[in-house]
Symmetry: C2
Amino acid sequence: MKKISQTEENYLKAIFSVSESKGKAASTNEISKEIQISAASVTDMFKRLSEKGLIDYKKHKGVKLTEKGNQHATKLVRKHRLWEVFLVEKLNFDWGEVHDIAEELEHINSDELINRLDKYLDYPKFDPHGDPIPDADGIFEIRSQILLSELDLEKTGIVVGVQEHAPAFLEYLDRMKLGLGSSITILEKFDFDQSLRVKIEKKELTLTAKVAQNLFIQTKEK
Amino acid sequence: MKKISQTEENYLKAIFSVSESKGKAASTNEISKEIQISAASVTDMFKRLSEKGLIDYKKHKGVKLTEKGNQHATKLVRKHRLWEVFLVEKLNFDWGEVHDIAEELEHINSDELINRLDKYLDYPKFDPHGDPIPDADGIFEIRSQILLSELDLEKTGIVVGVQEHAPAFLEYLDRMKLGLGSSITILEKFDFDQSLRVKIEKKELTLTAKVAQNLFIQTKEK
DNA sequence: ATTAATTTTTAGGTTAGTCTAAAAATAAAA
DNA sequence: TTTTATTTTTAGACTAACCTAAAAATTAAT
């Protein structure tokens, strides 16, 4: 078995995230946009990854991860998210600052390392953004969650994750003192722009539709 | 300022360690042996590092790190050793297992990360092998130390480091329950093979000259 | 069902980092 | 001080990972 390079790993991650969110094969152009590399180069890499048995590739038909490719991509996600937990929990980074560093750390190659880190962090199930962390067997814990924008009037929910990961959004949440675990109650909904009047802990404030559509929450009733 | 690649970093480290131990310019062949790459490739890289102002290179004269190159190499040493402390202290790795992983981790690029890690580890001055860790300004703490082989009869010393880092040697020390902080008293010296009869904590045992020449110790009378 | 637009692939080129083999320079030995 | 040995450099080639421009295939639109 040959080694998988960092570059190849980045493609695997991109294919994983694109075909996971779209639910089907990832196209050359989608990957090209995802990782900002020319479509021609992406085609090149598709051939190489296919050679290595990491993806299924037929010309003009897009690509899908093979079992092997999927396992590897899942491990990368696991590493990335565990490192994020480490950076936030142990080194006190803000949740908006950790992505780029974890992007480098995820390529460190040692199963022993990652499993010890997992133990050291006490086997976290979710990262600082609320994204699930696959366990050593690649199993993700599934959580019932809805978007804040789908929560009914006068109901209360707990923030468990974010859909959008852009630093600007995360910094906004920090400024609003909104983080994982925050309790939000819908006081009023404004139809004309879908903005919401909400109560967070003690304070009342207004959230735009954009914000409400990017916050995952969990409600009491299962 | 262009980025310094991982490959280039490996050359800088090799040049640093060769010219530090030899006390002078590092030759093409020395670096070639150190990192197991052909002399021709080393010459190539010397040209590139020279272009970037990281080394001084004159044909057939060997190379020396510039101030800039030295700073970068020192930072790599700092990162490597801090990660080793992390792996041993926090993740409970044995001291023989950490080198390869730290070799990867040292290339992670973030001053913020390394300084927070330093703080998290409580600003250690020495790594698990007793090697000094430069501070954020690149300053190494100097310690008065001698080799166990130089210690006089009936004198006692404390193990503070190792000269040889080979896994086999470190595993041997583990098996002998010899580590940093162990107290050793010389009971007898055998001239014919330079072996030593010593007392370590409560037990008496014999150490070969090879072992005695690779253990750094510190004595009371500074 | 053609034509037009878009997507994907091919062709050909570049750079970093490696190699081997041969040439040139330096160092060691006779 | 010549000759011999060693070290270093040059020359020429290769692979991985990128690029642009053009060709081919697919998809969408008239």
